[in-house]
Symmetry: C2
Subunit: 268 residues, 2 copies
């Protein structure tokens, strides 16, 4: 998928919302659990219902690998089925594997194979601590993206991301290094919404890449501020909300409630 | 498993070797492929044969998740079976999930559940870019360890790991932060063998934790130098070799050849 195609979808749907599929069995409504034969099956039923309800109001889904892996190979089978389901029913959707992988070249190559060949994701998140080698194997797939964690939204993000190199903060060093080996057609960055004040500054040295922006909703960031400070000429934003959408209601109306929250989040 | 128990095994077997199970289908001997009905099955047969041949000559195994995930849910099923096989047949072995996960607290908690509850690993590798939150959920499991990547062995490790904070290099900042929230009974560090000159220096500020040391063999590091520069009173080292052991021969004698290389690597 090209950035132009992503932008077309953003304009058509009037939103930059990415729904994070961090499907936690313990938070799934009882009415869903009652229909399922196993925990993995409950996650599958719930995730499909959320997707069917929210697809008109978002441009991307971001399954969080941890929440599927926790159920072993059955969890991975559910994820594979979910990817196929979204691909076939909602082909316009941008599909992100939130995996935060980050390893040496020969291992990163296998991760690229996992997410771009074994499963048909459009993008995968990567943690850059081990350097540019963690990123390069993902760049050779036309129409696919690596999304590098630059400045995250969590409370301990400042532990290491603010270290300095050549007079610049580490997150900027990471972004500039990654930009030097890629194009906006294969590279995006994670920039947390809880750092909205930093977004304008980051846009100055990174005008063209899309940003995946977590931290809206449960983590306290404001989508409006992100749009005001972080947009570029092609929007350039995928604003993620996970818990705020998924668990909008714990009753029989969970899907309608998720749709309502989704339809009100990250509108442009 | 306590560090004392790991040290007992190191003394008994006379080695600090950890065999990395980066099982690449393309490198598996033809004689194994001929016996298997699928790629995942070939990986399973090969990995079990390597384990049976090398168990007397190593103290730990380190399956690399990427090499199993690349075959989808069937690959994960093979990994789950392999973990059970090693656990039941070689209960003295220390089992490391080389996963390089690193995410916010609620996600890291799910990864801990994956590797310590769903699968019975003793330890999991974590990439620290997102801060202390990536680590803490792994610390609440008695006898289990989180192994944080500090200074890696790959060619691009210096891209970001040498950034500075408070006059110290980032890898030291990472280690000191992690040490401040843990003990040597639940925390280890990845320190690459290709940085053997740095090991003495690192031992000064981190005398008690075990180091998992990749980079011996195919990546060019020397196990002898690592032992000379990085040992502490309980050895404190798990020296990893993957490709050098696994692919010692591509013929019918692959298991014997792997055993021979293992028996000569990282001896104390």
């Amino acid at each position: 998928m090209t950035t132009e195609e992503i932008f077309s979808q953003i304009k058509k749907k009037g939103t930059t919302l990415c729904v994070g599929l961090d499907v936690d069995y313990d938070k799934i409504p009882e009415c869903v659990k009652a229909k399922a034969g196993s925990k993995a099956e409950a996650i599958e039923i719930f995730a499909r219902a959320i997707v069917d309800a929210t697809a008109p109001y978002c441009v991307a889904y971001k399954p969080n690998l941890a929440f599927f892996e926790a159920y072993g190979y059955e969890g991975i089978r559910v994820l594979e089925n979910l990817v196929k389901y979204i691909r076939s029913k909602y082909p316009e959707i941008f599909l992100i594997a939130d995996a935060k992988r980050g390893d040496i070249g020969n291992t990163a190559k296998m991760y690229a194979k996992t997410f771009f060949e074994q499963m048909d994701f459009d993008a995968v998140t990567v943690s850059p601590y081990m350097g540019s080698e963690t990123v390069t194997p993902f760049l050779g797939y036309p129409g696919k993206y690596v999304i590098v964690v630059a400045l995250s939204s969590n409370s301990s993000s400042a532990d290491f991301q603010m270290a300095a190199q050549g007079g610049k903060p580490l997150y900027q060093v990471v972004m500039e290094k990654c930009m030097s080996i890629s194009t906006p057609e294969n590279m995006m960055f994670v920039v947390g919404a809880t750092k909205a004040d930093k977004l304008q500054e980051i846009r100055k040295f990174c005008p063209d890449n899309f940003f995946l922006v977590p931290g809206v909703g449960a983590q306290g960031g404001s989508a409006e501020e992100v749009i005001a400070n972080g947009s570029n000429s092609k929007s350039g934003l995928l604003i993620n909300s996970s818990r705020g959408v998924l668990y909008a209601s714990s009753g029989e109306d969970f899907a309608e409630a998720a749709a309502k929250v989704a339809s009100e989040t990250a509108r442009i």
